[in-house]
Symmetry: C2
């Protein structure tokens, strides 16, 4: 039997709760089909308070040998500033392993009622995941003084923009053939104009894909007014971040939004994590919705080549939600939802 | 009778249609109460094609003497790139006249059905309007080559951040006492961490205002999941841009979203313009919704000190929408909606 080596980083808050749930489902899904070895790393804000860093200096090297990384959520702002915790753990992993394609599907699961009157949408967001507005380049001058200035520089490389757009075009090709590229080139005349140019260049290579160019503001409105018109959406790191929380919202909430940080050339492990954060207020209470986390397991299985098991996990999630399990906050405990998915999987 | 001198810049596309409508309503509202002189400037993409610039070199100086500026919409991407047209007209006016507070109200007008199931929200977005992500600082290196890099730098000054936050705190004080400050300080560790710090400093001066800090992604989700929890929202130039299109969406569409670019110390004219763009596809067809444009007239009147007439215009808009006029695209022509508002105003 094939064995996968998985690195687990439950992280903070409900990251721990949903990782437990996700691993239970993974165990049930694997039974009789493949084996997996998990190594759990306690890297988190608690770890930071003890060690002065979010992960050891050789953390990245430690992770490199695994087949995949599964991460719960990172952040506990009451004790560690988010800027420190995220730049110390989640963001460096995405960059170091060239997980440049962050894939986030948005549709309503059976039985789930979203906040919109609109229902029949099926959007695949492809978010650039390694550069752009998250480059971490910048600084502060005259700190604390009246004349203080803070600058933050977005850096876009041609290679970086090209590869994510290509990825988007390929996805569009395998779906409904439509790609929406999201920028803000009316206001950001260097970075976003560049992105638009690269999009136009590549479009010539994909005559079978229709391309729309939209500004992020109009796109945010569209996600709410006419989400059914969208197929594949490709966006920069920041715009993808915003649009996918919006995508999560229209699919019923952050508890339903899965995410895969993919290194498409497989030169390093990919990482799977729900879109939601650590939600300190509900941590450890057995009330977090594990569906996003379980869906992310399905994405991981698909990436590992276990397409059939992946599909089975997704069907099991939907069998549970179709019965009304986990479709609204407060309706079921984390354990109940997990058990319902496992029951459907074993049925 | 008092006379106001207004500069009109209808601009492009439906900017022209809705400016006509807005001025008709202004005429009806003014009758017997005050006079106004309008000077119309043809600055637009058409003007650009003829003169090689969006406005004359002394355009800003020409506008400086007016009591207020009314702008329709700018942009005709088929002939002039948006990055050129917007950086040549709209954005420099906002900056040159220190119109640092962009005020955008979001609520459902009587009779209008939004895309959300939620209804009872009343949000006032305060957008920083002169710096940040719209600074226009950046460049491209190795243009057109494989190793090309584009950079775009957001610049935040303490004075710039402080004044918009103060404006937000004051607005919150005069409304329901709640301010939500929107950043992305978990990813942007210079600019957004700085903004958060200034927010915390100022919060101490406004003990009567409760403050929430939210990341832009979570905030976008909240606008859709629980807009009724929001009161005053204050955000950077880009985040405010995104959130106010989202605000427009939840209030039923871009046709309903008004906007005031305010210079609070009145050292230069303020500018009033609907949030929507020039919508080339429906330009000149007498089908654009003029309500956002008319609502912006109400904001202008309020700014000019005509609070009573301003309130009358807003009531007239709502009297029309309450009767079902203009509440859905395609239902009524621009002229019909304008006439209905004027009839209500004169009733
Ligand atoms: C926690 C945060 C840094 C992260 C991001 O902005 O990428 C999260 O919002 C996400 O979407 O994965
Ligand atoms: C046209 C564009 C530059 C402008 C902006 O981004 O400010 C518009 O979207 C707005 O919201 O007023």
């Amino acid at each position: 039997m094939k064995t996968y080596n998985l690195a687990l980083i439950p992280g903070d808050g409900i990251g721990v709760d949903v990782t437990d749930a996700a691993m239970e489902v993974l165990g049930a899904a694997a039974k009789g089909r493949f084996a997996f070895d998990t190594t759990s790393f306690p890297w988190s804000c608690e770890y930071y308070l003890e060690h002065g860093r979010m992960m050891p200096a050789d953390g990245i090297e430690t992770l490199r040998g695994f087949d995949a990384i599964y991460l719960g959520a990172v952040g506990w702002p009451a004790t560690v500033p988010d800027s420190v915790s995220l730049h110390g753990l989640l963001l460096p992993i995405r960059k170091a392993f060239n997980q440049y394609a962050n894939i986030r599907p948005h549709r309503l699961l059976a039985g789930v009622e979203g906040p919109l009157k609109a229902e029949g949408f099926d959007i695949l967001c492809i978010r650039e995941n390694t550069e752009g507005e998250y480059s971490g380049a910048g600084g502060r001058v005259h700190e604390g003084k009246d004349n203080e200035v803070a600058v933050e520089t977005s850096v876009f490389t041609r290679a970086g923009v090209e590869r994510i757009l290509r990825f988007g075009f390929e996805q569009a090709r395998s779906r409904r053939g439509h790609l929406t590229s999201v920028t803000k080139s009316n206001a950001q005349k260097y970075s976003m104009v560049f992105w638009d140019e690269v999009t136009r260049e590549l479009a010539a290579e994909y005559p079978d894909v229709t391309v729309s160019h939209m500004h992020i503001d109009a796109m945010a409105a569209k996600m709410v007014m006419a989400p059914q018109d969208l197929d594949v959406v490709v966006a920069s790191n920041l715009f993808g971040d915003i649009l996918t929380d919006l995508g999560a919202a229209i699919q019923g909430g952050l508890g339903f939004a899965a995410s895969a940080n993919i290194n498409p050339d497989r030169s390093a492990p990919s990482m799977f994590e729900p879109v939601h954060g650590s939600a300190p207020d509900i941590a450890g209470k057995n009330i977090a919705n594990p569906i996003a986390a379980i869906w992310s397991v399905a994405q991981m299985l698909d990436h590992l080549g276990e397409a059939e098991v992946s599909a089975a996990v997704l069907s099991a999630i939907e069998a549970a939600t179709a019965k009304g399990i986990g479709i609204r906050p407060g309706l079921n405990t984390t354990d109940e939802i997990t058990a319902a998915v496992i029951a459907a999987l074993e049925a």
